[in-house]
């Protein structure tokens, strides 16, 4: 016997596991329910009150907080539900700055999409609250904040940092980091909060240099700032980088650290090498590829002939690709004729490779990053993991934090 039960949604019968979250179930069968505070990676909040549905058990409820139980019947849309959702939405946007014309995220904003769905006009220029621009990487505009809790929860539940909170209460409530300003806080700039924000309340500082994000192109690639290999979405406007987001894929599942999200401008500085350089009388001068490569070929050939292959060394790079490293070692071995090829792995994990080969026969990490989340005990030693591998640290924090709230079943 499986634990599948029937649930009737708008007259149609479905089968699903008992205890399935109603909202997630409805989403999975492509029934459109408006949501704002809900986020698949976060615990439920039930704050926005948009995902209202009717059940035969409790009449009007928020779908996000409801588990599917036996003989449940759900109505996802009728006149009253539509009226209530719309009314709540109108209340939500009433005091907000919804001046989409001046907003960078015009066309991308979740609130805007909901407004379209509800056919509610957004045009208010409210600037009651002061913006917090003190963070080096992001800006918080309380006037655009829908108080959905996503940023606060993302910082706490995904990143395990808990830097954010609300301040004050009622309509005066807004998100705060530290004591009154982002700069005073423990925020380390990972930007998880920006990524989950449904509006432009939290926005990357870099985006403020642009009028509109749309149109843009999005490309996925692998981050270079440590060994985790986070998948990142690079947003491009023409040739300019708008921003970087964590791609919701293995191994990082959407998370990035401050370097990956905000550091890649460091690759495109004006002083990038643009042509080959040749040193003459202690000074570099620009040279053509032909000239430079011919010079190297000549010198290496000369030294090889004069002193032998083993007088030449190649240092490869852990920052280059597999293909490049392969080509480079092939060059040193096949062309130069020596095994004098090494790279900085020597300086970090040579002992891992030698040690683990002696013990196990293979020198690599034996298991997968995501498995850490399910370990019962984790021994960390000699790894300042929150700084050197911040995204792996989030997996570990999750595994441990899980322990702090013992379930009582």
């Amino acid at each position: 016997m499986d634990n599948k039960i029937y649930v009737k949604v708008d007259g149609k019968l479905y089968r699903t596991a008992k205890g399935t979250n109603l909202l997630e179930f409805l989403k999975s069968v492509n029934i459109n329910i408006p949501t704002l505070c809900y986020h698949a990676k976060l615990s439920k909040t039930a704050a926005c009150r948009l995902c209202l549905v009717k059940t035969n058990k409790n009449n009007i409820i928020t779908a996000c907080t409801q588990e599917i139980t036996e003989n449940m019947e759900v109505i996802t849309s009728d006149e009253e539900i539509e009226y209530l959702r719309r009314s709540v939405f109108e209340l939500l946007v009433d005091e907000l700055n919804t001046d989409c014309d001046t907003c960078q995220l015009d066309g991308l904003c979740e609130l805007q999409q909901l407004a379209k769905q509800f056919d509610v006009k957004l045009h208010k220029k409210s600037n009651k609250y002061k913006q917090d621009t003190s963070s080096p990487v992001l800006t918080y505009n309380p006037n655009k904040c829908v108080k959905c809790f996503r940023c606060i929860k993302a910082c706490d539940e995904i990143e395990g940092k808990g830097v954010l909170n609300f301040a004050y209460r009622g309509q005066d409530m807004y998100v705060v980091a530290g004591l009154e300003s982002w700069a005073s806080s423990e925020c380390d700039g990972c930007g998880e909060c920006v990524q989950v924000c449904p509006t432009a309340a939290l926005i990357e500082k870099n985006l403020l240099n642009f009028d509109k994000v749309i149109p843009f192109e999005k490309h996925v690639t692998t981050c270079i700032f440590c060994g985790v290999g986070c998948q990142m979405d690079v947003w491009l406007k023409g040739k300019e980088i708008l921003k970087v987001e964590g791609a919701d894929e293995i191994p990082n599942h959407g998370s990035l650290c401050v370097k990956g999200r905000f550091g890649i401008d460091g690759l495109l500085n004006d002083d990038r090498l643009k042509t080959p350089l040749i040193k003459e009388n202690g000074e570099f001068r620009e040279a053509s590829w032909d000239e430079a490569l011919n010079l190297i070929a000549k010198k290496l050939t000369y030294i090889k002939e004069k002193y032998g292959s083993d007088a030449i060394c190649g240092l490869s790079s852990a920052k280059c690709t597999n293909e490049e490293n392969y080509i480079f070692q092939k060059f040193i071995r096949a062309v130069i004729g020596t095994n004098n090829i090494d790279h900085c792995a020597r300086l970090c994990h040579a002992s891992t490779v030698t040690g683990l080969i002696m013990s196990f026969g293979s020198g690599a990490m034996t298991n997968s990053i995501s498995e850490l989340e399910k370990a019962d005990a984790i021994l960390i030693t000699g790894s300042n993991i929150t700084e050197a591998h911040p995204v792996i640290a989030t997996f570990i924090k999750k595994a441990i934090k899980n322990n702090n709230e013992t379930t009582a079943q």
Partner: protein
């Protein structure tokens, strides 16, 4: 009692945040928590600053702004409203020469409104620091304020 001594009374259990802030505020001359207090408390309990800031600003009994030696809370809730608490409030403010921040001119009193004090049987009522006062009228208020000014009342 200074903040260090207050902290000593409590273990590092995070749930003592409110208790500690309560005691610290009461111990301060101006009956307020300042940002430095929040820093010290956060560090002691090993919580983030925003947890202290967010919590301190949630509860209306905490004040981040300096108040005064005597914090007068006039009940403005239903019963007292019926019993004309608003007149009491206005009278108090004029008696004490309160400024826009509701601080008395002599800096001795801070006046505020508060939800039901549960003194409905002796409404209208107010509370000054830990002391409650009921069945208020203008004469009684004058007398109470006078006593506090003379320091002959232990509130």
């Amino acid at each position: 009692m200074d903040i260090e001594n207050i902290l000593k009374k409590y273990s590092k259990d995070k749930s003592y945040l409110l208790e500690i802030m309560h005691d610290v505020e009461k111990s301060k001359e101006n009956k307020n928590l300042d940002l430095n207090d929040l820093k010290v408390i956060s560090k002691y309990l090993d919580i983030n600053l925003s947890a202290a800031y967010g919590t301190a600003t949630f509860y209306s009994m905490f004040s981040l702004k300096p108040q005064a030696k005597y914090v007068i809370m006039v009940c403005s809730s239903t019963v007292c409203h019926i019993k004309k608490s608003y007149d009491i409030l206005l009278f108090l403010k004029s008696l004490l020469n309160c400024d826009d921040d509701n601080l008395s001119k002599d800096g001795l009193f801070a006046v505020s409104e508060v939800g039901c004090l549960g003194l409905c049987d002796i409404s209208p009522s107010m509370m000054i620091n830990n002391q409650v006062y009921g069945d208020l009228d203008e004469n009684k208020i004058k007398q109470i304020v006078g006593e506090l000014r003379n320091g002959s009342n232990g509130a």
